[in-house]
């Protein structure tokens, strides 16, 4: 196979251009380091955004069966549709396996920006209830830092990204630097008031990475609705038009697209990473990029896959895996349970021309708080995402004029969906499937994960508490769902290269540096020690900036 070494030696090779890779490139390039930012997919242009294009302009009115053929797994994500499926990976080219009795769904994008193009944008801080959860209930491990260590980085990231939300003064979900909150609907205000009065729980507006006023050169949201199809005013946070653009502006960052990284290259004598090998996605030609540091931001499972595929004589079980814990403690939030209903007394008139709020409400965790009480059936906790708003009644019964009128008249729906902590378990793991390779010949993953009895008990409780809260708001026709969705459905994969102070019990140190190889780092969700129940991207970004600042300091002193 022909191989070509890039002539330049970079200070840092960053693999992946999503939420964490974008921040790493920005932060390191702005500090003066020479960065190569490698992305497995193509570049993206705002011209391909389709958020304002009506469905009837598409060949198949957004019902395209092509997705079924090439994206049978990706289409399980609500955001994968005829408008944008090309941003998601082709499942035929990007296989993985899982044991037949342990199905796992893995949603991926390979394009500059990665999943920040289509993410749900919900942005919540973790607290010491999460970072120090093991000390509180004895399960698992504490994180190697506390909330006070990461709080300044939350501030910094929020200040740049722009998170809209309400301050609540709730210890389980620390407040941040918020832009003005989006407005709640009548049904949501009603729910917030009743739930506070009856249960003392807090229903707040979703804290979301969408601007409610002009911020950092980007315009406020214009409430057209479908963010996952792009945003021509850049009102929601996506890395290509923020962090990656900033990195490129410094002149210190080179973006290399279509670079499918197969492994980290090692200098065995020095026990240092030399750089990475990548395959051009289109020409299949192999290249080597050399760097003084290598930083994986490829997404938790992808970064771990690269480390497994980088095994050497010194590291036969995968690079940075002397602990034997690489691939272990895979987590993904427990989802699927909750309740939905109608608010029959609400007056409303719905039109497809109404503003469309790309955000919901959030119920802050109220189980197993520091002050107690402890739930008898499960440890840790869950939050809810939800909303209350008029919907078209496409599911109305009957046919003819009465059906047509019923659809248009709509129903005032209300729903809450639980997001529960996924416990870090040794027996939830990924490894290389010896019999499976992707379209570029790179060994693929076998992912083996189940939710356990703790998650099941928690989700059953979530269904019941969701229903009681809807009931308190006067909802009717309550439907409960107490069943867990398959792992992967939350699209919050975390763990597999966890942080810790003890090299025998973790893969990375408190600054995301591999215990085994000093100039090798993993900044993405792989580093999580526990999952909390909060959407993780904000925390991943804060961790990245913290790790970058530490790296820059050491780099300047020649210590990495």
């Amino acid at each position: 196979m022909s191989q070509e070494a890039l002539s330049q030696k970079y200070d840092a090779i960053v693999v992946g251009s999503g939420a964490t890779g974008g921040w790493a490139a920005k932060r390191l390039a702005e500090a003066g380091m020479k960065v190569a930012l490698l992305e497995a997919g193509r570049n993206i242009s705002p011209e391909e955004f389709t958020e304002h294009m009506p469905a009837y302009k598409l060949e198949y009115r957004n019902l395209s069966p092509e997705i079924v053929r090439t994206r049978p797994i990706q289409k399980m994500c609500y955001a994968c549709m005829e408008y944008n499926y090309d941003w998601f990976v082709d499942d035929l080219q990007n296989p993985y396996s899982s044991p037949p009795d342990k199905p796992f769904t893995w949603q991926r994008l390979r394009i500059v920006g990665g999943r920040t193009l289509v993410w749900g944008r919900q942005s919540y801080r973790l607290s010491d209830l999460d970072f120090k959860a093991a000390s509180l209930d004895g399960y698992g491990a504490d994180w190697p830092f506390s909330y006070k260590d990461i709080a300044p980085y939350y501030d910094l990231v929020e200040g740049y990204v722009g998170i809209s939300g309400m301050t609540e003064g709730n210890e389980a979900l620390p407040d941040g630097q918020f832009l003005p909150p989006m407005k709640m609907t009548c049904g949501e205000v009603l729910l917030r008031e009743r739930v506070k009065a009856k249960f003392g729980r807090t229903v707040t507006i979703g804290r979301t990475a969408i601007l409610t006023k002009n911020h950092n050169g980007r315009a406020a949201c214009h409430y057209c609705g479908p963010c996952e199809r792009g945003c021509s005013t850049f009102s929601y946070f996506s890395s290509p038009f923020t962090t990656v653009a900033d990195a490129l502006k410094t002149g210190n960052c080179t973006l290399i697209t279509n670079a499918v990284v197969s492994q980290v290259d090692m200098d065995s004598k020095e026990n240092r990473a030399r750089g990475v090998t990548y395959i051009d996605r289109l020409t299949r030609k192999t290249y080597q990029a050399s760097g003084r540091t290598v930083i994986l931001c490829a997404q938790a499972l992808e970064s771990t896959r690269i480390l497994f595929n980088s095994k050497t004589r010194e590291y036969p079980a995968g690079l940075a895996n002397s602990s034997g814990l690489l691939g272990r403690f895979l987590m993904d939030h427990a989802v699927g349970a909750g309740a939905s209903a109608e608010l029959p007394d609400m007056e409303f008139k719905k039109s497809a021309s109404d503003p469309n709020r790309p955000n919901g409400i959030y119920v802050i965790r109220f189980r197993n708080l520091k002050a107690g009480p402890r739930h008898p059936r499960f440890i840790r906790g869950y939050g809810f995402q939800g909303g209350a708003a008029p919907n078209y009644a496409f599911g109305a019964e009957g046919f003819g004029a009465s059906y047509k009128n019923a659809v248009k008249k709509g129903v005032y729906g209300i729903h809450l969906g639980g997001f529960g902590e996924s416990l870090a378990r040794l027996d939830n793991y990924c490894e290389i499937d010896p019999a499976l390779k992707d379209a570029w010949g790179i060994p693929a993953l076998r992912i083996s994960m189940t939710h356990g009895s703790n998650e099941a008990a928690m989700m059953e409780d979530a269904a019941v508490t969701a229903a009681e809260m809807l009931e308190a708001a006067g909802a009717r026709n309550i439907t409960l769902n107490a069943k867990l969705a398959m792992p992967g459905m939350a699209i919050h994969e975390l763990g597999t290269a966890r942080m810790g102070d003890d090299p025998k019990k973790s893969v990375l140190n408190a600054y995301n540096q591999a215990h085994d190889v000093k100039n090798l780092f993993v900044f993405d969700g792989a580093c999580f020690v526990s999952s909390g129940c909060q959407n993780p991207t904000l925390t991943m970004m804060a961790i990245t900036v913290r790790a970058c600042d530490h790296l820059v300091e050491r780099f300047k002193k020649n210590e990495v």
């Binding site: 009506p54 469905a55 009115r61 407005k183 008031e193 057209c224 039109s351 019964e397 003819g400 047509k404």
Partner: protein, 134 residues
């Protein structure tokens, strides 16, 4: 008949039949067969009841038959469990294709008030003072 012309255009005006043909042509064999099976079921039941396929029935019979299958059926009567009745499932299958195709057409989107305006200054939000919702 599922989405007729009222004071606004219906599925026929939106050429929903042509679109479903196009969509189904690109669909998987399984989905195509499910759709055809539902059509065949309807004609089969109409033959059994009225000695003619659905399309040849007088309007009253068509309405009468659709009413039979358009609503969910209880399968328990006087405490006795009855055999499965397939009608509602086939009706729902066909209706969902027609409904999705219609409401994603230009005519259907306008039926729901779509105007092409995508820029809004603000959300309306709840305009009422606190504690006034009952």
């Amino acid at each position: 008949m599922i989405l007729p012309k009222t004071d606004t255009p219906g599925a026929k005006e939106a050429l929903v039949n042509r679109f479903i043909d196009r969509l189904l042509a690109a669909e998987t064999r399984e989905t195509q067969q499910r759709f055809l099976a539902s059509l065949a079921y309807i004609d089969g039941e109409c033959m059994a009841r009225y000695r003619a396929a659905f399309v040849y029935l007088p309007a009253e019979s068509q309405t009468e038959f659709l009413k039979l299958i358009a609503y969910p059926h209880s399968l328990v009567t006087w405490g006795e469990k009855l055999a499965e009745f397939e009608g509602p499932a086939h009706f729902e299958n066909l209706k969902s294709w027609i409904s999705r195709a219609y409401y994603n057409s230009e005519i259907g989107m306008k039926e729901l008030g779509w105007s092409g305006n995508v820029f809004h200054d603000d959300l309306e939000g709840c305009p009422h003072p606190p504690e006034t919702h009952k």
